[in-house]
Symmetry: C2
Subunit: 183 residues, 2 copies
């Protein structure tokens, strides 16, 4: 579970685009072990259907987002691939019944990603919060929602890189690569 936040309203859909492609294409998602949400800084939440096949083409992705903000869901009929609701982050976290929230920030406690993710294994419904803004840090409100804020590298990692690494490290921690090769 991830949360991507934009500093400006719909200002950097490219960040969301790359990060969602990393998340949805992952073996963890294919095993139905991942649920992705995008929270915007004007308190919208996009619920991403794990079966959504997003356009690889950026312009078509932006077109999809525009449709989403207009219709509140895409496609307009049938199973929603993306759903938009007005919702704060505390509301979202309560609804998901998460029992642990880990946020990643350069202001957090230094820890390797391996150490950080191993902690999530003890939890039933852990949430990982990844910032989706080009600069700056989480708001104080967001930091307070986290049980733990972790810093895995002294330099800024791009949202899509962090997303990809968190997912892969979690797969590794639950031995998913081995299990899938044995299938």
């Amino acid at each position: 579970m991830k949360k991507l936040k934009e500093n400006e309203k719909r200002g950097r859909p490219d960040i969301i685009h790359f990060a969602l492609l990393e998340a949805l294409g992952s073996p963890l998602n294919k095993e139905r072990l991942l649920q992705v949400y995008v929270h915007t800084n004007n308190d919208y939440v996009v619920t991403v259907n794990r079966e959504a096949r997003l356009p690889r083409n950026y312009d078509r992705f932006v077109g999809l987002l525009e449709q989403l903000f207009e219709l509140r869901r895409v496609p307009s009929k049938g199973q929603a691939l993306l759903k938009l609701e007005g919702k704060t982050l505390p509301q979202l976290l309560e609804e998901t019944k998460t029992d642990y929230v880990m946020a990643f920030s350069r202001k957090g406690s230094p820890k390797t990603l391996e150490e950080a993710i191993s902690k999530l294994l003890e939890k039933q419904r852990p949430t990982v919060v990844v910032g989706g803004f080009p600069h700056g840090h989480f708001s104080e409100t967001t930091v307070k929602l986290a049980d733990e804020v972790v810093c895995i590298d002294p330099e800024m990692l791009e949202t899509w890189t962090l997303t990809s690494r968190v997912i892969y490290e979690y797969e590794r921690a639950v031995s998913l690569p081995k299990k899938r090769l044995r299938q």
Copy 2:
């Protein structure tokens, strides 16, 4: 070191775009331990300067590629960020003086990425070859250039996901995350 190949000439620059963003933004690259090349199926090689900051915006990236194919380098003066040369894959591999070539393909020997990358640690100048085409497999010629072809997941992984994971696993294998946190 990676090689991305297009099935159609300049047909899927989005794949190259995402994969290069993953590679260039990685701590491995920041530590100057990575050199990225893009080999196209009509035998051009793009040498990517590790200090290149590529546009996040897709249209601007395509503009950059167009400029590259016209001028053979960008920017036209000063240090080249991208350089284009007519070159086959065997020529490239010889020039780089690589001592081991590992390719990733679903047709390879099943092995976790962790196992695969641990093998590269014994080598001085290992090369990793990642396919950059939307469908299909490496040509027989390319397969013969590889010392080892590895399959890390029964399903297709996107080029950018594989790129990100290979780099992260290598960083992990050389304890780069710990070293960088201690700096």
